[in-house]
Symmetry: C2
Subunit: 212 residues, 2 copies
Amino acid sequence: MELYTFFRSSTSYRVRIALAYKGLAYDPRFVSLPKMEHKRDDYLAVNPQGLVPALVDGGHVLSQSLAIIEYLDEVYPAPPLLPEDPFDRAYVRSLSQIVGCEIHPLNNVRVLKYLQGRWSFSDADRDEWYRHWIAEGLASLERSLLREQRHGAFCLGEEVTMADVCLVPQIFNARRFDCPLEDYPTVMRIFERCMTLDAFTAPRPNSQPDAV
Amino acid sequence: MELYTFFRSSTSYRVRIALAYKGLAYDPRFVSLPKMEHKRDDYLAVNPQGLVPALVDGGHVLSQSLAIIEYLDEVYPAPPLLPEDPFDRAYVRSLSQIVGCEIHPLNNVRVLKYLQGRWSFSDADRDEWYRHWIAEGLASLERSLLREQRHGAFCLGEEVTMADVCLVPQIFNARRFDCPLEDYPTVMRIFERCMTLDAFTAPRPNSQPDAV
């Protein structure tokens, strides 16, 4: 397997966690977002979406981190990242999508660049934008966890799922932008628990060979 | 089944298509986004995320449209909205997520309201923002389809999948904001084909009882 990855990309980090959790080895291919390598022709020839991560397995190129994680769970099912019960699966996917569809898309690099380039956002404006969506999204995640009361050590009971795989990189992003996190104690307890596991710590951004 | 829906919500429309395609009946519960009914306590008691759609089935409340569609496909598998082969499934999910994670999150109502309320975007600014992300996202979708050359009448061959279920409502949104669409002939050919099917036309926004 080959993984096109950038150390600070939280969607790349999600896939690195999933691979580590399942004990799957891969050859990394580093794609620097600051250097715009994801928009170069040689990378667009790999992934026409021009985004990281991309995973190459069995001669196929897979894109979009949540799609990649679902694929890994189907083809390399042990240990699972989705539970068996359909309602549980829907719950885990919904929590994952709070991060994947409600927080991260608003805060990724291309959006921040557009706000600053086209709309003249200052660095302070950009940071306020960033923290706004972090606060909205993490509040929603915290409310959902508290309402359902199905969390244990992790988002769903005592086993790691895709929801945890999405939660952890989002907290790394939040900390990078100095977002206050004290209003999300349930989320943060799960984060701290995840960070006791090698599958989450080994692939963390600053431990990556391309970290600068 | 009960579906909490708003006629113009493209994520609600996705789920309405999936239900129609599978021939599943439901009782609609209308939640007006302009009236902010999705933020009222009675709705937050249903879905703490404060978003439509939400589906109630078997006593469980399901949220996030892509999670709901995956659930429907697992529990009501015929006709399927995901293919069988893991690579095909990953491809369909990736195309779905171009819409679900790259286009729609940037253009939904709460983002537009925040741009206008906090950042003083004029209506013209808002529309430029909207069209920018439509253009970026549909270009990515068009490139992906052309690169893979796996489309037929639909995004993947000759059968409807979740990717088509996501594509169609996004085009409705694009048209509502007068986005130019001539650069995406493959996407638009698939859209037109979908709109020959009852499962796509019956649940369209303007045919809904809550359309105003």
